[in-house]
């Protein structure tokens, strides 16, 4: 709509200038990104559409998809709150140990996810440091959906923080000061001054968290016990099917995950994106 309205000679020359870099980018991305994605779809549909639908209709596949979505939603919501809180504290308060803490909360992206899974097991598992005291009480988070959620919260924690903290750091403090001078308390300032400014970042952070949770494998495979119909997420299901030689089934679920991720990104980016254009 906008593009058509603004079609001018200058626009047109801009477009032809874009031709070379854009085609170069596509050429580079072809073997790295586009072809592997295409391969998933090609293999998913190799047995025909009915085979694709049948692969999706098994109870195991349905459970895995639903469970993955639920865990991803829960992870995104919880880490959105925790991450915002962490970003606020780290950005607005000065305290000893601030820098080490800032590094530690970002570590989960650098630690191999398998290590995350192992350490969670060694902490909360039935023979773990804390787990062995919980076991007699009948509390056992590992090998249950709670364990999967714990692993995903750990692994995706830095994404929310990483999106919000730079925004908070760069936000003009004058608005906040203005709010304080007219008698707003910290919560009111956060709720009515900071939060609206963070809206885009909140969406992006939650989106990244959701997407990473949807695709998480390394930690999940260890803490879940990989139980079908109970703790098997979609990536675990895909891997199990691939290992069992059911490549078409594996790719059918992979294709659905890819489409879901695409849809989520597409809609949310449209919803939140281009704030400049909208506000003018």
């Amino acid at each position: 709509m906008r593009a058509v309205a603004l079609e001018t000679p200058r626009r047109r020359s801009e477009r032809s200038a874009a031709l070379i870099p854009v085609s170069m980018l596509v050429l580079v991305l072809l073997p790295l990104l586009l072809l592997p994605l295409a391969a998933v779809f090609i293999f998913a549909f190799r047995g025909g559409v009915s085979a694709f639908v049948n692969a999706l209709r098994t109870p195991d596949a349905q459970f895995a998809l639903r469970f993955s979505l639920l865990v991803a939603f829960a992870t995104a919501v919880i880490n959105a709150i925790l991450g915002t809180f962490a970003a606020y504290v780290l950005s607005k308060y000065r305290f000893p140990g601030e820098r080490p803490l800032g590094i530690v909360v970002n570590l989960p992206v650098a630690i191999p996810t398998v290590v995350v899974g192992t350490s969670l097991l060694l902490l909360w598992g039935p023979i773990g440091l804390l787990g062995r005291w919980l076991e007699p009480w009948g509390l056992q988070p590992m090998f249950t959906p709670v364990g999967v959620l714990l692993a995903h919260l750990f692994v995706t924690f830095p994404y929310m923080l990483g999106t919000l903290k730079p925004l908070l750091d760069e936000l003009e403090t004058t608005y906040e000061e203005a709010a304080y001078t007219i008698g707003a308390n910290r919560w009111q300032t956060f709720r009515y001054v900071l939060l609206p400014a963070l809206r885009g970042g909140l969406f992006t952070g939650a989106l990244l968290t959701f997407a990473h949770s949807l695709g998480e494998f390394g930690a999940t495979v260890l803490v879940s016990g990989n139980l079908r119909l109970r703790t098997q997420t979609a990536p675990l299901y895909i891997f199990a099917q691939f290992e069992a030689g059911n490549i078409a089934t594996a790719n059918a679920i992979a294709a659905v995950l890819a489409i879901l991720s695409f849809l989520i990104f597409f809609f949310l980016l449209r919803y939140t994106g281009k704030p400049n254009e909208r506000r003018h």
């Binding site: 056992q140 090998f143 139980l227 079908r228 109970r230 069992a244 809609f267």
Partner: protein, 348 residues
């Protein structure tokens, strides 16, 4: 104009929320408290080594569900997980809530009892000392057998690429090592080094190691190597479905692997006991044993093995007992010869 933009924005917001809502509804649907089947099924949590996945999920579990329903009117739900035998054993040691597990080799059962997960030798109280079925180790070659593979010795020839599961995580790989070593010693009884020589020859040619027998097969199917050493069952089951794009080569001497059932008593509540015992007994019933045979496993009951004409003849089959049982075989052959000598000599 402004009004229209506002409308477009509203629509976008609505469509986004609609999409999210639809996905959320889809995700929680099975757990919504809708009026549906009232009585909750009883649950058996089952862990099995890799090649059991298909026969258990698609044949034995449904058969038991039907039998149990007829006997008691109770519905049973199976929660299962399949991976390499070593992986399963490690998961059991870490405390997964399994009721019953089938391991590829008794050695893993011994590891479980050493870790205190099950009582020592508790599986010996079960029928056939816990062995639920068998399958010999065979060689799978490319269609037309272009490398002229005839026996384990052929795999030691230069230029043959062998796909082998990893003995660290795969029970099948441990069986394969005993099969290779045993074939060497039994074919040339006058030469004490024959077993080790054969192992060294084969392992010089190993081009890919996978975490489980299943994964090794997937690697082979994806084009790795000229030969795969695996369970006969894998190849037979593929062939019976017309999916085997390869040839089965039967060695003259090979081992029959024996798969051990363990019951994890500490995970079983008293009110679950009858159900679990019923299921375990069912594994040795004629019905279940026939299902195993149908899908390429050799039954512990020799009579039933006539029902599968696909089983190939093996001139000199042997068992782990012939090498003094798994404790001794692991110490002397897998660790003593393969790991400490052969692997070092071939430079891995």
């Amino acid at each position: 104009m402004v009004k229209r933009q506002l409308l477009v924005r509203r629509l976008r917001e609505l469509s986004t929320l609609g999409l999210l809502g639809a996905m959320g509804l889809y995700a929680v649907w099975p757990w919504l408290p809708l009026p549906q089947q009232a009585n909750r099924p009883r649950t058996i949590i089952f862990y099995g080594f890799s090649i059991l996945g298909d026969v258990m999920d698609n044949a034995v579990f449904p058969a038991f569900q039907e039998t149990w329903y007829k006997q008691t009117g109770e519905r049973v739900e199976f929660i299962s997980s399949f991976a390499g035998s070593g992986t399963i054993t490690n998961q059991l040691i870490m405390g997964v809530p399994a009721d019953v597990a089938v391991l590829s080799l008794e050695l893993d059962a011994q590891r479980l009892s050493a870790a205190g997960v099950i009582d020592s030798d508790s599986w010996h109280q079960l029928p056939h000392k816990g062995v639920v079925n068998r399958t010999p180790f065979i060689i799978v070659a490319r269609p037309g057998n272009p490398k002229q593979l005839r026996d384990f010795e052929s795999l030691a020839q230069p230029g043959v690429g062998v796909v082998h599961p990893d003995p660290l995580t795969s029970g099948g790989a441990n069986w394969a090592i005993i099969a290779e070593y045993g074939a060497g010693t039994r074919q040339q009884r006058d030469q004490p080094e024959a077993g080790k020589d054969l192992l060294r020859g084969i392992w010089r040619n190993v081009v890919a190691q996978a975490a489980s027998a299943r994964a090794a097969r997937t690697q082979f199917e994806n084009g790795f190597g000229d030969a795969l050493i695996t369970y006969e069952q894998e190849a037979l089951w593929d062939r019976s479905r017309g999916q085997l794009d390869a040839e089965i080569v039967y060695p003259r001497s090979t081992i029959l692997s024996e798969h051990t059932v363990v019951v994890i008593d500490r995970n079983i509540d008293p009110d679950e006991r009858a159900l679990i015992d019923g299921f375990v007994a069912f594994l040795w019933s004629d019905e279940a044993q026939r299902l195993f045979v149908e899908r390429g496993f050799r039954s512990v009951d020799e009579r039933l093995n006539e029902h599968n004409p696909g089983f190939g003849a093996i001139a000199d089959p042997f068992l782990i007992e012939d090498f003094g049982g798994w404790t001794q075989a692991k110490r002397e052959i897998v660790d003593g010869i393969w790991k400490n000598q052969v692997l070092k000599e071939v430079g891995r």
